[in-house]
C-alpha cells in the first residue's frame, strides 16, 4: 500500500486547472514509468507527474508549488545515473518531455536554439545537412535530453578535444522556483556580470528549470580515423595515454577498455577486438585530411614506443565504425555478464591511472565482486562497472559500499567523486568526503540565492551538514582540519 499525501486529490485538481487532464498523471500505474531514472536501485513514486508544454504552464506550476510549499523535481529523459531525477514522495515531478522542439538553427553564427526535452542526438541529426554537429556526445545520446545534459554538465567520448556541455552552450532561459525568468549567457561570446551559465551547468535541477538552450554547433571534421592499440598490461596502456598527450597530440577521443570489457563487447557486437589483450586503447584523430594523416602516424609511433603489442589503424569508415561499435556497446555488453551492474564515475589525474586501477582490483577481490573497466582515459574519467546480483540478499548493499570505497580512492588520488554523472541521490554521502563543512555551507548559500525555501530537488546534490555528521565523514579534508580554532558542531 502506498501512503498518499493527505491533500493529494486537492493538489491534483489544482494542477488540472493549469494543465489538460491528460497532462497530469496521478494514478499509480501512470506514475510507475517515472519512479526512477537510470539508477534503478532507487525507486520512489511521486505525488503526481505533470507534463507542461509552455513556459507559462511551468510558471503556474511553480507558483502553485511555492504557495503550497510542495517540492518539485525536474525530469528530462530520465537516463541520469545518480538518481537526480528520482521523484520525491510528497513532490511533483515536472517532465520536460513535451518541450521537444528545435526552435531555430542559425547557420551563419553556427548555433541552434532548442527546447530542453530535445534529445542530444536529434540536434546533430537536424544540422547534419549543413555540415554541422553538436559536439558533446554522451553514450546515452540517442535518449538523453539536452536539458538533462545541461543540468549534469554531461560529457562524452569527444570531450577531451571539444569540451563538456559547459563549453558548448551559449545561452539558457531559466525559470526559478519563484517564477522569475532569467536569460543567462547570450548570443555573444561573453556576458556582463557573473558567469551564471557556468553555475547553472551541472546544477542538477537545484537552481532553476531550464526552458530553452542555445547550443554551439561545430563544423563536421573533414576526416576522422581511429587507432586500436593492444597492451598486455593495463598500467602500460595508462602510461601510453600520458605519453600521447605529453607529446602534444590532442586526440578527439582516447578510450580504454580492459580485458573483460573487450571480451564482453566483442561477444556482443563482434567488433573484431584482440580478445587476449589485457587492455585496448581507441585513439581517434580528427581534422583536415593532412592534419589527420600527420598526427595519426605520430600517434602510432608513440603508442608503439609506449609498449603496444599490436596496432591497427582503421582501413576505412566501415572499420572505424566497427572499432567504435564495441566501445559504444560496452555498457549493455557488460550487462550480459551479470544480472546487474553498478556504474561508477570517479575522475583522477591521469598519472594516477595505474595505481588507482590496481587499488580497484584489490577492492574487487576483497569484496568478491568482479569489476570491469571501460573509460574516458584521455580525461582520467573512470567508469568501473561492478557486477552483482540484486536478487542475492545484501549484495546491492555490498556493491554500494564497494562503490563508495572506489570513490574515496579517487578523492585520495587527487580526483573527484563524479566526472559527469552528477551527485544526485547516489553520491550524497561521498560529498562529505570531498568537501568540508564550510564548502558545503557555501553551496547551500548559493542554493538559497536561487531557491530560498529549498523546494527544487531537495535532498539531492549537496548533503546537509547533519547528514554528513551521521555519515561520519565530516573530518579531515586535504590532510587538515579547516579552521581548527572554530567550534565543531
Amino acid at each position: 500500500m502506498i501512503p498518499t499525501h493527505p491533500n493529494k486529490s486537492l493538489i491534483v485538481r489544482c494542477l488540472q486547472k493549469i494543465l489538460p487532464a491528460a497532462s497530469v498523471l496521478h494514478e499509480t500505474e501512470d506514475l510507475r514509468p517515472y519512479e526512477c531514472d537510470g539508477l534503478s536501485a532507487y525507486q520512489q513514486l511521486p505525488l503526481a507527474v505533470v507534463l507542461p508544454e509552455t513556459v507559462d504552464q511551468i510558471d503556474q506550476i511553480l507558483t502553485f508549488c511555492t504557495k503550497q510549499q510542495i517540492p518539485v523535481v525536474a525530469r528530462g529523459a530520465g537516463t541520469g545515473l545518480s538518481g537526480g531525477a528520482l521523484p520525491l514522495e510528497n513532490g511533483i515531478l515536472v517532465s520536460l518531455a513535451k518541450f521537444n522542439r528545435i526552435l531555430h538553427i542559425d547557420i551563419e553564427n553556427r548555433t541552434a536554439v532548442v527546447q530542453p526535452g530535445v534529445r542530444n542526438l536529434a540536434i546533430s541529426d537536424a544540422v547534419r545537412e549543413y555540415g554541422l554537429y553538436y559536439a558533446p556526445d554522451p553514450s546515452s545520446q540517442i535518449a538523453c535530453s539536452i536539458g538533462g545534459n545541461v543540468a549534469e554538465n554531461a560529457g562524452g567520448v569527444h570531450c577531451l578535444k571539444y569540451g563538456l556541455t559547459v563549453h558548448n552552450i551559449m545561452k539558457l532561459e531559466v525559470v526559478t522556483i519563484d517564477g522569475e525568468h532569467l536569460t543567462i549567457g547570450s548570443d555573444a561570446l561573453d556576458s556582463p556580470g557573473y558567469d551564471l551559465l557556468a553555475l547553472m551547468t551541472g546544477s542538477e535541477g537545484l537552481l532553476g528549470i531550464i526552458t530553452e538552450i542555445t547550443v554551439k554547433l561545430l563544423p563536421t571534421p573533414e576526416t576522422a580515423n581511429v587507432i586500436l592499440a593492444s597492451f598486455d598490461d593495463v598500467a602500460t596502456a595508462g602510461q601510453a595515454v600520458s605519453n600521447v598527450i605529453a607529446d602534444g597530440i590532442l586526440p578527439a577521443g582516447l578510450e580504454l577498455m580492459d580485458n573483460a570489457a573487450v571480451g564482453a563487447a566483442d561477444d556482443f557486437v563482434n567488433a573484431g577486438y584482440p580478445r587476449d589483450a589485457a587492455a585496448i586503447l581507441l585513439c581517434e584523430i580528427d581534422g583536415s585530411d593532412t592534419e589527420v594523416a600527420d598526427q595519426l602516424s605520430r600517434a602510432q609511433q608513440l603508442l608503439q614506443r609506449s609498449g603496444a603489442t599490436e596496432i591497427r589503424v582503421a582501413k576505412d569508415e566501415q572499420q572505424r565504425a566497427k572499432f567504435w561499435a564495441g566501445r559504444k556497446a560496452a555498457f549493455p555488453a557488460v550487462g550480459r555478464l551479470s544480472p546487474d551492474y553498478y556504474c561508477m564515475d570517479g575522475t583522477i589525474p591521469r598519472h594516477q591511472l595505474a595505481d588507482v586501477l590496481t587499488r580497484i582490483s584489490e577492492l574487487s577481490d576483497e569484496y568478491g565482486l568482479p569489476i570491469v573497466n571501460v573509460f574516458h582515459a584521455g580525461d582520467g574519467n573512470l567508469h568501473p562497472l561492478i557486477l552483482y546480483d540484486a536478487n542475492i540478499e545484501g549484495e546491492l548493499e555490498r556493491t554500494e559500499e564497494l562503490g563508495g570505497k572506489i570513490l574515496e580512492v579517487c578523492v585520495e588520488a587527487g580526483g573527484t567523486i563524479t566526472g559527469e554523472h552528477g551527485v544526485g541521490m547516489e553520491k550524497i554521502n561521498q560529498m562529505c568526503v570531498q568537501f568540508n563543512e564550510y564548502e558545503l555551507q557555501q553551496f547551500h548559500a548559493v542554493k538559497q540565492a536561487f531557491d530560498p525555501n529549498g523546494l527544487l530537488n531537495p535532498g539531492k546534490g549537496i548533503p546537509t551538514l547533519h547528514r554528513c555528521a551521521e555519515f561520519g565523514a565530516m573530518h579531515v579534508h586535504h590532510g587538515q582540519l579547516p579552521h581548527p580554532e572554530l567550534e565543531r558542531f
Binding site: E108, N109, L132, V166, H167, E180, T183, S186, D187, L189, D190, P192, G193, Y194, D195, L196, A198, L199, T201, G202, S203, P219, E222, S242, I245, A246, G248, G287, S288, D289, E291, T347, P349, R350, H351, H376, G380, N381, G414, T416, I417, T418, G419, E420, H421, G422, K427, F435, Y438, E439, Q442, F443, V446, Q448, A449, F450, I462, H478, P482, H483
Partner: protein, 348 residues
C-alpha cells in the same frame, strides 16, 4: 616547488576586515585596475603570494598561487611547448594569474579555442567571511557540487579572493602562419564564416582599416593546404601579440569601447573599428555611451579606457531580475560586502 605562501596572512586580514566591516581593495600587479569601477578601501595585496605548485605536461594542468606572475607561468609552459590557450592579456609584465582569471579577459584565440573561464578547473578562494574554500580540482571533469571555481572567472574578486588556481593548458600547434587579405569588413567576414564552416585551422581573426588578418595554427602540411585553398598573403605574426597584450594603437584611445556581439550582427565598413573573434568582438572609439546600442544588437558593451579607473559605469547595466540574483549571490559569498565592493556594479 618554490614560492611564497601568504594564505594565512591574507585570511587573517579578511577575517579582521569582516569583523570591522572594512572594504578591501584586492590587487596584485595592478595591470588591470582600469577594468572596473574604482574601489575605496584598505589594500589587500596579493603580490608576493606566488609560486607554481604543480605542473606535469602530460596532465595538461598547471596549479599556481594567484600572485604568480603570468610571464613566469608562461615560461614554465613554454618549456614543454604548452600554452594558456585563451591568451590572457598581460598589459604589463606585473600581470598575475589571479588578475587574469578574476578579470576573465581572453585574447585573440577566444572565439576559436575558448575563454579564460573555459580553462578553469579548480580554485582555492577565501570568501568574505574569511573561510578558505576549495572548489573543482586538478582533473579535466568534475561535477561534484556547483561550479564555483568557474564562477570566480570574471567576478573580479567580488565573490572571493583567489588563492590558488588550476588551469587546463594545451599543447602549442606545430606551426602558426598569418594570412592578410585586402577586403572590406562585410565581405571579409563572409569569407571567414565560409572558411570556418569548412573547418580551416583558423585560430584568430582581425579586421582593421581594410585588411583582414587570419592566423592559422596546425601542422605545417595542413597550413600549407589551407593557404592554397584560402589564398591571401603570408605576413608576420606580430599583430597577434599586439592584440593579445593590447599594445596595438587601437587600444590607446581614451574613449574606447569594447562591444561583444553575436558574430554576424551588423558588420559595417567603419575604418576606425577593429573587429576580432570572427566578428564577435568590436573595438570602437565613441564619446557616447554604447550600452543601449549593444543591448539592441543582443550583446553588451564595456567602457575600456586602459589608463584610468573609472567612476562611471564600466559594464553593461544588468536587467532588474539579473541584478537581483547577482545581489543575492554576492550576499551568499560576501555577506558584509567587503570584497572589492562596487567594482563591477555600484549595487554589488
Amino acid at each position: 616547488m618554490s614560492g611564497n605562501d601568504k594564505t594565512e596572512q591574507l585570511r587573517e586580514q579578511i577575517v579582521k576586515a569582516c569583523r570591522a566591516r572594512t572594504p578591501l581593495v584586492i590587487n596584485a600587479g595592478n595591470s588591470k585596475s582600469f577594468y572596473g569601477r574604482q574601489v575605496e578601501g584598505e589594500a589587500l595585496p596579493l603580490d608576493g603570494h606566488q609560486g607554481i605548485l604543480s605542473y606535469q605536461a602530460s596532465e595538461l594542468v598547471i596549479t599556481a598561487r594567484s600572485g604568480t606572475r603570468l610571464d613566469e607561468l608562461e615560461a614554465a609552459l613554454d618549456q614543454h611547448n604548452q600554452q594558456l590557450a585563451f591568451e590572457p592579456p598581460l598589459h604589463t609584465d606585473q600581470a598575475t594569474l589571479g588578475g587574469a582569471v578574476a578579470c576573465g579577459l581572453s585574447g585573440p584565440a577566444r572565439a576559436f579555442r575558448g575563454a579564460a573561464r573555459d580553462f578553469v578547473l579548480g580554485a582555492k578562494v577565501i570568501n568574505g567571511k574569511g573561510e578558505l574554500l576549495q572548489f573543482g580540482g586538478q582533473v579535466m571533469k568534475n561535477v561534484a557540487g556547483y561550479d564555483v571555481s568557474r564562477l570566480m572567472a570574471g567576478a573580479q574578486g567580488t565573490l572571493g579572493v583567489l588563492i590558488e588556481i588550476s588551469l587546463k593548458v594545451l599543447p602549442k600547434s606545430e606551426a602558426e602562419t598569418t594570412l592578410a587579405f585586402e577586403v572590406d569588413a562585410a565581405q571579409g567576414h563572409q569569407w571567414l564564416r565560409n572558411w570556418l564552416h569548412e573547418g580551416q585551422p583558423i585560430s584568430a581573426s582581425c579586421h582593421y582599416q581594410g585588411t583582414l588578418s587570419l592566423r592559422l595554427s596546425s601542422t605545417e602540411n595542413s597550413i600549407k593546404q589551407a593557404h592554397s585553398r584560402m589564398g591571401g598573403e603570408i605576413v608576420g605574426n606580430e599583430l597577434w601579440h599586439q592584440l593579445r597584450h593590447q599594445t596595438h594603437p587601437c587600444f590607446q584611445q581614451d574613449n574606447l569601447w569594447r562591444l561583444s556581439l553575436p558574430p554576424s550582427t551588423n558588420i559595417h565598413n567603419e575604418d576606425d573599428q577593429l573587429i576580432e573573434w570572427g566578428g564577435a568582438l568590436r573595438w570602437k572609439a565613441s564619446n557616447n555611451d554604447l550600452f543601449e546600442q549593444a543591448r539592441r544588437l543582443h550583446g553588451h558593451a564595456t567602457r575600456y579606457a586602459l589608463r584610468a579607473a573609472s567612476r562611471q559605469q564600466v559594464f553593461q547595466p544588468l536587467q532588474p531580475a539579473m541584478l537581483a540574483i547577482h545581489k543575492r549571490i554576492k550576499q551568499a559569498f560576501d555577506p558584509h560586502s567587503i570584497l572589492n565592493p562596487c567594482r563591477l556594479y555600484e549595487e554589488l
